[in-house]
């Protein structure tokens, strides 16, 4: 069983959403409660103008023909004061909810980044950067939006309907029922949205958006390949299909809502009509017309308030659901099992050994490497060769503890990597991958990254040994030029040489080289090869190479096939065996001959 499978316990019931935000608020958690309190006050004060208008109309109708302004203006002033106070309370509630929202947004992003940095290296192989970016940004964005904009409405969705119900009971229950009927009908119509089907769709929707976002990043990255081979977006099938799938899924779901949504809108607009019919049913002749009219006007004013509040509660529920789901996703992303932390800070020597190592990638049924054993003595170089997918890169990554092995053990300096402290392991191991990423900082900072207290002399030596001097000379501010700013970019081969300077400066005794020249042009390949030689001089080196001429000098070559070592020996020994390596060598020679003869033909033409 893989560690991911092992590390996915059944999810416990989540606490209420607001409670989940509290840990991110720190000492300012009272902002949340203050916002709720102020918005409750706003909701209560917001009811007073309606009440005042009702009293005003009532008095006006009772004193028809002998209107006394003095008695009426007090209602107007009270309504005005209540409305002003309500607005002020709402502003204050919004202020605190925004402060809370921003705080949680920043805290979520910080926490997400902190936890990602502490994840094992294998985590970054299984989680695409586009997906991680989307999940962290969405979680922060949605939670901010929920807290800042919906929190003040939360109190109103409880207090306003309760106040309206109280007024209904006090003023006229018959008209009150007429007011409630369409609202209840509307909610029954829209009830489906709150069901598990609606929630499942939200989940599907977020998944589809996430997949499309990840794939769009991959698409942009792959554009050079798409262009080079004269293809179009239609040939980037996965991305294209994801766009269409997303459209079809949302389209189908939207269509199912066409009738209920139309019915809901119709019913919500029908409140006034229900009130007219109810008023006619309670009509007792011209004597009761004044009271009926004042009550009718009050309920006519309350109808949109009530339905708007209920509508808000529905959006609130929906946004609450979305905020909860994105929070779940972020927690799910970070729920990647952490590795046990080793404590040993001393290793015996600089050897590297694999003992019966078997490892299966998360989600795969077939082991990537099976029962692999070999040892690299201090100062020795061992090369791994084999077809793509034969397990070479996996072995190199297991040595750097990208993942923990399923069985067997990887020993660095005679100590199981699981028992070595992370810092000690990283101090003793350097790796150079196929692709290198430099950070947006000066070349000097890129080279000294990971090495503390590097002297200027050591930096200059690393620059020379990595064949990077020419790159430094060509930049306006030499080593202090910021990479990635003002159009200062380096080619893949140049970046690789700077990365090698970093590894040379680090001077770790064990070096892992994973097809470091794979994407280099011939000129850069030659320089990188020289730099690699300087880097691995006297070091314990595990080298993976697809260009076989770079492994001929290795102390031992291991040939891998389907996760197992099938041949081992020096270059000459393996050629004599006439096995897989000899075939690979013959094929490699043919490729070189073909290249040379093609070039010759071009020249002669």
């Amino acid at each position: 069983m893989t560690q991911q499978a092992k590390g996915s316990p059944k999810k416990a019931k989540q606490p209420a959403l607001l409670k989940r935000f509290v840990p991110f608020m720190g000492e300012k958690r009272f902002f949340l409660f203050l916002s709720l309190l102020l918005s409750s006050l706003h909701a209560l004060l917001g009811m007073l103008p309606f009440l005042m208008v009702w009293l005003l109309v009532r008095q006006l109708l009772q004193t028809l023909g002998q209107v006394q302004l003095e008695g009426l203006t007090k209602y107007a002033w009270l309504a005005f004061a209540a409305q002003v106070l309500a607005i002020l309370c709402y502003f204050a509630a919004l202020l605190f909810s925004h402060l809370a929202g921003f705080r949680v947004e920043v805290a979520l992003q910080k926490k997400g980044m902190e936890r990602i940095i502490n994840k094992p290296l294998g985590f970054f192989d299984t989680n695409l950067s586009g997906r991680m970016r989307k999940i962290i940004n969405d979680s922060a964005g949605s939670t901010h939006s929920f807290l800042a904009h919906q929190l003040p409405d939360m109190a109103a969705t409880v207090i306003t309907p309760l106040s309206v119900l109280l007024l209904i009971a006090l003023v006229d229950w018959r008209l009150g029922i007429a007011l409630l009927i369409p609202i209840l009908m509307g909610f029954i119509t829209m009830g489906g949205m709150m069901t598990t089907a609606g929630k499942a769709f939200q989940d599907q929707y977020l998944n589809a958006l996430e997949a499309m976002s990840s794939e769009s990043v991959e698409y942009v990255r792959g554009i050079p390949v798409v262009k080079t081979f004269g293809q179009s977006v239609f040939s980037f099938k996965r991305f294209y299909n994801l766009i269409l799938n997303y459209k079809e899924m949302v389209y189908a779901y939207t269509i199912t809502w066409r009738h209920p949504m139309s019915a809901y809108t119709m019913i919500m607009q029908a409140g006034g009509l229900f009130l007219v019919v109810a008023s006619l049913l309670t009509w007792e002749g011209s004597d009761s017309a004044g009271i009926l009219l004042s009550n009718f006007i009050l309920f006519l004013m309350l109808a949109p308030l009530f339905s708007t509040t209920m509508m808000k509660s529905m959006y609130l529920y929906q946004n609450k659901m979305i905020a909860g789901q994105v929070l779940d996703r972020m927690e799910g992303l970070l729920d990647y099992p952490d590795m046990s932390r080793g404590k040993q800070t001393q290793i015996d020597d600089t050897s590297l050994a694999f003992q019966y190592v078997t490892f299966t990638y998360p989600g795969s049924d077939t082991p990537a490497v099976s029962s692999v054993s070999f040892r690299i003595n201090p100062g020795e170089t061992i090369a791994l060769v084999g077809a793509s997918g034969s397990g070479k890169t996996t072995l190199a990554r297991l040595a750097a503890r990208f993942w923990d092995v399923d069985s067997g053990q990887v020993l660095v300096g005679g100590v199981n990597v699981k028992n070595i402290a992370k810092e000690t392991l990283m101090d003793n191991v350097s790796f150079v991958f196929q692709t290198t990423r430099l950070m947006k900082m000066s070349l000097r900072d890129n080279i000294t990254f990971g090495t503390t207290n590097a002297t200027e002399e050591a930096i200059q030596r690393a620059v020379d040994l990595s064949q990077s001097r020419e790159i430094i000379y060509s930049l306006p501010q030499g080593l202090d030029t910021i990479i990635g700013s003002r159009g200062t970019y380096l080619s893949g081969g140049e970046q690789q040489r700077i990365a090698l300077a970093r590894s040379i400066l680090k001077d770790a005794p064990i070096v892992l080289l994973d097809e470091a020249t794979a994407f280099a042009d011939p000129e850069n390949e030659h320089l990188i090869r020289k730099a690699l030689k300087a880097l691995s001089q006297g070091k314990t080196t595990l080298m993976i190479a697809h260009r076989l001429n770079s492994v001929v000098d290795a102390d031992q070559i291991l040939v891998m096939d389907k996760g197992r070592i099938v041949e081992k020996g020096s270059h000459e020994q393996l050629l004599q065996k006439q096995g897989m390596y000899a075939d690979m060598w013959a094929e490699y020679q043919t490729t070189i001959d073909w290249k040379v003869s093609s070039s010759k033909k071009e020249v002669s033409a």
């Binding site: 262009k227 939207t254 019915a263 809108t265 029908a270 009509l273 007219v276 930049l475 159009g487």
Partner: protein
């Protein structure tokens, strides 16, 4: 109008046509929302006339109000049904087309965009090592 929408919002001709339609249906939708208010206003005026003694009875019977309410509600439903279709469903067609078109546009941009050189500030490594004009 269609041409304006197409240029203003970078839409396909079909998208602009659909948006144009949905704008008109939304205008109609909001106009239809005025109908219940008109009935309420009429009713209020009617009751006031009786209350102030200008009339003995209400102008319409309860059945007339019920009948007219049903007609209005049916009208609102039909307009909303069409408006919903013209707005909510068409948008996903258009956004899918826009995404694909954007991906194609990105593909057609020069490979150098955002990479080694910038049109305003060529990469120093390229500038210094290329053939020098002096």
């Amino acid at each position: 109008m269609n041409r304006f929408l197409q240029n203003r919002y970078a839409m396909t001709p079909e998208g602009a046509r659909d948006l144009n339609k949905s704008i008109w249906w939304t205008v109609l939708q909001f106009l239809s929302f005025m109908l219940p208010i008109m009935v309420c206003t009429f009713f209020t005026r009617d009751v006031l006339r009786v209350f102030s003694g200008k009339a003995q009875n209400l102008s319409w019977s309860i059945w007339a109000y019920v009948g007219i309410s049903l007609v209005i509600l049916t009208l609102i439903y039909i307009i909303n049904y069409i408006q919903y279709g013209s707005t909510y469903t068409r948008i996903y067609d258009e956004s899918a087309k826009t995404r694909i078109r954007l991906a194609e546009t990105l593909r057609q941009l020069p490979l150098s965009l955002g990479k080694r050189t910038s049109p305003t500030f060529p990469a120093p490594s390229w500038r210094m090592r290329g053939p020098q004009p002096w």
